[in-house]
Amino acid sequence: MEDRIRKILNNKIYEPNDLEYMIKNTINREYDKKTKKNKIIKSFTTVFACLVIVSTVVFADNAAEIIKKWFGISNGVEEAINNGYIEQIPKEYTESKDAKIKVTDFVMDDMNLNISLNGKFNETIDSSKLMRLKFININIKDEENNIIFSQNDTTNINEKEIFKNDNDDTEKLNSSSYSTYINTINSNSIDFLININANDLPKSKTLKIQIEDISLSSENYDREIRLKGVWNIDIEVPEKFYNRTSIKYNVIECNNKYLDKNSINAIVYNTGMKFSMEMKINDGIKETMNQYNGTGNIEENLSIKNNAYIENENGEKFYISAISDGDGGYGVEDNIFKYWQTFNITKYNLTKKLKVVLETGKGDIIIINLEK
């Protein structure tokens, strides 16, 4: 019994996603407190100039160092970086009113866009308690001037527009999530990261980022510093990102008779796998479900638990990335149960065959065998 207790207590249990980030941020803040000068940024009155700088790109040679610093990235992005899928953009700063900013490192595929930036304040600030970063306005456009990401302070963060063309109002994509993290901040400078998850980021040779005003605030928003300025940063996207490819897997067999095999879609990218499937809710399913649950809540019974995973032929398991709600979910629409998910398996972990293992709310195990 004692061995059993030991084993259970040593098993990994769920931890909040932001635990590691919170720890790193707390430590950064405590160290910065020791060194910073308590000088509050003064008001700025002069009209700012806005410089556009086109940065050039070189290879990143310190992937491990970057992973250590990048918060909020999925295991899939981490795996891609470990395999050299990252580029460094080390050049000039874009100057504006209260600070100058430059992009430092860059990762992009169909699902993820991760950009780290460094800023230097034009006057020293009191950086104590500052943990959160928010752009008052940010737009990212591709080479055809499509807005691939946009967010401003007056809109709800969940209602971002993505892929909305400048010229017409056709929304091509509707699912994305967005986060910013402060890596380090002191009285003179800041390192921060933008993580964007989306469904179909373009294979664009350039990206234009426009940032207007940045808010830095404490965890409880009881302290805020606003950096005024407009920063236009053009990035020449390295070839490996715009010439990227994805790998589609096809279904060989599935143990669930109700699942529509043709609806199963599994595509692997550099930073993860997008998986989706559909199940038509017919009388057979309804009957089975009602036997299980008298209330007949079909959606709950069909729901797929978060212990879902993909297993490769080497026996390695890859779980859901769970960076945001946008990455996965399920629902019933027009009598069809839909499930979509993002897994942490990347192009660097693939074998010819893969196995998808899903557990339903009812407790059934669905196994889907896939092949390249």
Binding site: I5, I8, L9, K12, Y14, E15, P16, E20, M22
Partner: protein, 177 residues
């Protein structure tokens, strides 16, 4: 770890960060024994880190580093727990709410972990986890918690009996008894 601690004591931020990250799983598990909400557990860990940071320069006994951190954490957790009580938030309500939260989202191993501990009171939980998970002796646990060693021994024995009964009844059910 010894090297990391030495570097952290000298003020090396990287080393300090690594040191804390290495014990973060233990800190979280212990915080969750006392505080059901993730937000409270994170607050307790955050306050613990700040306290460790302030005092680490005076500390260089690698053997007792984890014990020292856990001691600080337990105190921080107790403070938050008592504050919640004072603020008349029903601990029972919190427990029900959080039971629902972590039983909705978490992994298979969570069920085993929390089920094992659910019949124990807090004093028994902390002793069980320190003895079986952290491998502290009863003497060390008594120093960390500040309770007589004999009390620790009796809590441990009581907790083991409860777990034994729990498994017997569970296996009885599984065997159709």
């Amino acid at each position: 770890m010894e090297q990391l601690l030495q570097e952290a004591c000298k003020g090396n931020k990287e080393a300090f960060t690594k040191l804390i990250l290495e014990i973060r799983h233990d800190l979280y598990k212990i915080a969750k024994l006392r505080l059901n909400s993730d937000a409270d557990a994170e607050d307790a860990i955050q306050e613990t880190i700040i306290e460790i940071f302030k005092r680490i320069k005076k500390f260089n006994e690698i053997k007792y580093f984890k014990a020292w951190c856990i001691k600080i954490l337990i105190n921080k957790c107790n403070k938050i727990y008592n504050k919640n009580k004072r603020n008349s938030i029903s601990v029972e309500d919190l427990e029900i709410e959080n039971y629902y939260i972590y039983n909705t989202y978490k992994m298979e191993s969570d069920i085993e972990f929390y089920s094992l501990l659910e019949n124990l009171n807090y004093d028994e939980k902390i002793v069980i986890i320190m003895f079986y998970k952290e491998d502290f002796t009863t003497k060390e646990i008594s120093k960390i918690i500040g309770v007589n060693e004999n009390t620790i021994k009796s809590r441990l024995s009581r907790a083991k009996n409860k777990i034994k009964k729990y498994y017997e009844s569970k296996e009885g059910i599984n065997n159709g008894r």
